[in-house]
């Protein structure tokens, strides 16, 4: 049974690349969101196994969306994508409970490893 993934990033190009990499490895992309609000809504609607969440997004940023999702589902699995220089945001996200984070520009291998490990515990 394929792992169901929700992609959240305001750049459609990023989502496209992630989709390609992940689908090739057998993951199923069940939904895409282009801002934090949408990410939370889609999470509730689709109930994915894991979320790949970009930190900088309009309407509601990735950190807030992360917190919101955790308050709805403490067992959610979220992996954050961030750019260099957003260290304190990442730390906050870790405090909120994310499984891992990737730094952009991301290497496919890292995304895949992070995903694989996210299902360990």
């Amino acid at each position: 049974m394929a792992v169901r993934v929700l992609l959240a990033d305001d750049l459609s190009f990023m989502r496209m690349v992630q989709k390609e990499v992940l689908t090739e490895q057998g993951y199923e992309i069940v939904g895409e969101a282009s801002n934090g609000l949408e990410a939370v809504a889609k999470y509730q609607e689709l109930n994915p196994d894991v979320v790949i969440m970009d930190i900088t997004m309009p309407e509601m940023n990735g950190l807030e969306a992360t917190r919101k999702i955790f308050s709805l589902d403490p067992d959610a699995r979220i992996i954050i994508c961030s750019a260099l220089g957003q260290q304190h945001l990442i730390v906050e996200a870790i405090n909120a409970g994310i499984k891992d984070f990737i730094v952009k520009p991301f290497v496919p291998e890292r995304l895949l490893t992070a995903l694989a490990k996210a299902f360990h515990s």
Binding site: Q87, V103, K117, S121
Partner: protein, 667 residues
């Protein structure tokens, strides 16, 4: 070169002949390999060639050549074993190295030295191509970046003692973060965050909470923690991408718990040995980490202070017949001195500020353990870890906060079943937050539990309905108040909320507030003043009273032999000083047993010097000065009072007035 002679010449020419042949083959192989980097057979061949060159060069003691060949051989070995991919860059490096080898051989053939060829950058290149240590299993031992010795501060030592009493094991976990990881600190933080939920974290190197170091410092991280959990869980927590290796070791408490904590209650310090003891020799050394910017502020102020003082000196020294200009200049300088000293004091206070993270770090585990024990589901949210408070406050707050949190879990938050019945989420929330607001620190502990049972408290206290709810709630801080019939060991340990309130009010000059909504939750707020007027003082005893003398007013303490104790003057270091008796100045009765030696304190003030006789020297202490009513200070000899940890009160001597008073009475 080994022994000189014909043999050597023959060896050398043989070497050179063979070397040329090898180098020719090497070149061919490299060119072919460049075109097709998957040709393993070529890699093998090149390896053999370099190996031969190395051996022969070593034999003839051509150090430069053998060294370079050796490094190249290492790299080729890795490629050969499939541990290092042959990228184009690597190919280039190999080419460059081979070129250098050729150059070296050429020089040798011309009678020059191989070591003349500069190859340090090539060697460095080769080294970077070698895979990082620890990535491959069974590789060599990782270099330890931290000294084996670690220093635990007072709070950490208390944690260790408590953990030892609970029967937990002390561990040290060393993690290596992938050198190429883009953000090492957050990667380490991922592990740290997970671990905090599982174990009792004691110390981390480098620090995991503000202030943090530069990212590069986090290539190797050490966690010291105690746990009774199985190690499997701990190892699992470390299973994060880009953590290249981990090492979990068990440590002995005995190594770190040798030193006793300094006593906070009044204790006697026996003085033996030399007649004179310079002030400050009792102090047990303790260290704090200070942000350099804070120290810079102090240095700058100190610099200004020195200049000001110099100006004052010059003014006094200069001969001014006209008084007025002198006086106004003095006034201006005096004002400056005043302002600078105030700024310095503020800066000094700030160096004592430490983030509350040190205080909060044990709570995630505490909540997890307790909630498990009680069969409740509780999430602990912490906000404002980086808020700073005075160091001394941290130690005093530890117990009270622990007690409040235990209370919230025990009495406040309901069982999952109960919560569901009330339409709440199964998981209760406990929020612990710290922030600076106005001139105060505000600590909040709030839960979304069942709230205080106001009627029950009212009934227990036998109060009428006319007493307001707020008044009733305040009673939970009175002694003897527990609305649970059973004394649960969780909130027990002899610490009640009344002790919490007392500690916060007396020791910290703070306030505790409670608000509660039945069915919705309880919030306890602790308000603490931000700035404290702290003075480093020497505690002394005179008759049955204890006093504090600011260290800055003192030079040293001396021992006065019996025969010299009665006079009105005493000679110290060839200087004749007035000898004052504190009991006389204060008008105290009672006789002390005459002793062969009595302690005298040399006061060194602007207005003069004197020697003050006291009954006993106790210890050095940082005291918080509180103002006192004039009724308590009829002779104006006190500058305030300080409340000690055990509730006792010290009067702080106003040294200048003591000196004045002594001169007045001549005794």
């Amino acid at each position: 070169m080994p022994t000189a002679g014909i043999d050597d010449k023959r060896l050398l020419s043989a070497f050179l002949e063979e070397a040329e042949e090898l180098l020719e083959k090497l070149n061919q192989a490299l060119l072919k390999l460049e075109r097709d980097r998957t040709r393993e057979d070529l890699v093998h061949e090149i390896f053999r060639i370099i190996h031969s060159l190395k051996s022969e060069a070593a034999l003839l003691e051509f150090k430069g050549l053998s060294e370079l060949a050796h490094r190249l051989e290492d790299v080729l070995e890795e490629i050969r074993n499939q541990r290092l991919p042959l990228t184009r860059t690597l190919m280039d490096v190999i080419f460059t190295a081979s070129d250098a080898i050729q150059e070296m051989v050429r020089r040798i053939s011309h009678g020059e030295k191989d070591t003349d060829v500069e190859v340090s950058s090539i060697i460095a290149e080769l080294d970077t191509q070698l895979p990082g240590m620890g990535e491959s299993p069974g590789s060599q031992v990782r270099v330890e970046l931290f000294p084996a010795e670690v220093h635990f501060d007072n709070l950490e030592i208390v944690q260790l003692q408590e953990a030892r009493d609970r029967g937990e094991t002390l561990y040290r976990l060393t993690l290596d973060i992938d050198e190429h990881a883009a953000m090492k600190y957050p990667r380490a933080y991922l592990v740290f965050n997970k671990l905090e939920q599982l174990v009792n974290m004691v110390k981390t190197q480098p620090g995991m909470v503000e202030p943090i170091e530069e990212d590069a410092f986090y290539t190797q991280v050490r966690f010291y923690f105690t746990s009774e959990d199985d190690e499997g869980e701990i190892i699992k927590a470390c299973d994060i991408d880009q953590v290249s290796s981990r090492r979990l070791e068990k440590l002995e408490y005995g190594e770190y718990l040798e030193t006793e904590l300094p006593e906070t209650s009044v204790s006697t310090a026996e003085r033996e040995g030399p007649e004179r003891a310079p002030a400050g020799s009792w102090q047990e050394k303790s260290y704090i980490r200070v942000e350099t910017s804070k120290l810079n502020d102090i240095w700058r102020s100190l610099g200004d202070l020195v200049i000001c003082k110099a100006r004052v000196r010059r003014l006094f020294e200069s001969q001014q017949t006209d008084r007025a200009p002198l006086r106004s200049e003095l006034e201006a300088v005096s004002d400056s001195l005043e302002k600078i000293t105030r700024e310095m004091q503020q800066a000094m206070v700030e160096t004592r500020m430490v983030s509350v993270a040190a205080l909060f770090k044990k709570f995630p585990r505490l909540v997890r353990d307790l909630s498990r024990k009680l069969g409740k589901k509780v999430a602990l949210l912490i906000h404002g870890k980086e808020t700073e408070i005075d160091r001394s406050i941290i130690e005093v707050l530890s117990d009270p906060l622990t007690h409040i949190i235990r209370n919230a879990l025990d009495h406040g938050i309901e069982t999952p079943a109960e919560r569901l019945k009330q339409g709440k989420e199964e998981q209760g929330q406990l929020v612990l937050s710290a922030q600076q607001q106005g001139g105060r620190i505000v600590l909040d502990i709030s839960d979304d539990g069942r709230g205080l049972d106001i009627e029950k408290i009212r009934a227990k206290a036998d109060l009428e309905q006319s007493v307001s709810d707020e008044e009733v709630i305040k009673l939970i801080f009175s002694p003897g108040f527990s609305t649970k019939e059973r004394v649960s060991d969780l909130s027990g340990r002899g610490v009640g909320l009344d002790v919490v309130a007392t500690r916060i009010r007396n020791e910290l000059k703070g306030e505790v507030l409670v608000t509660s909504v039945p069915g919705r939750g309880t919030r306890i707020t602790i308000l603490l003043p931000l700035t404290l007027t702290i003075v480093h003082a020497l505690v002394i005893r005179c008759r049955e009273f204890y006093f504090a003398i600011p260290m800055q007013d003192m030079d040293e303490t001396v021992s006065i032999p019996l025969e010299k104790q009665e006079g009105i003057e005493i000679s110290v270091d060839g200087e004749s000083l007035p000898l004052l008796r504190l009991e006389n100045l204060l008008g105290l009765d009672g006789r002390e047993e005459p002793r062969s030696e009595r302690s005298g304190i040399i006061l060194n003030l602007q207005a003069g010097r004197c020697c003050l006789l006291v009954d006993e020297l106790i210890e050095e202490e940082d005291v918080v000065i509180k103002p006192i009513d004039e009724l308590l200070n009829p002779k104006r000899l006190f500058s305030g009072a300080a409340v000690r940890g055990d509730g006792g009160i010290l009067f702080i001597l106003h040294s200048a007035r003591i000196l004045e008073a002594g001169e007045g009475t001549g005794k």
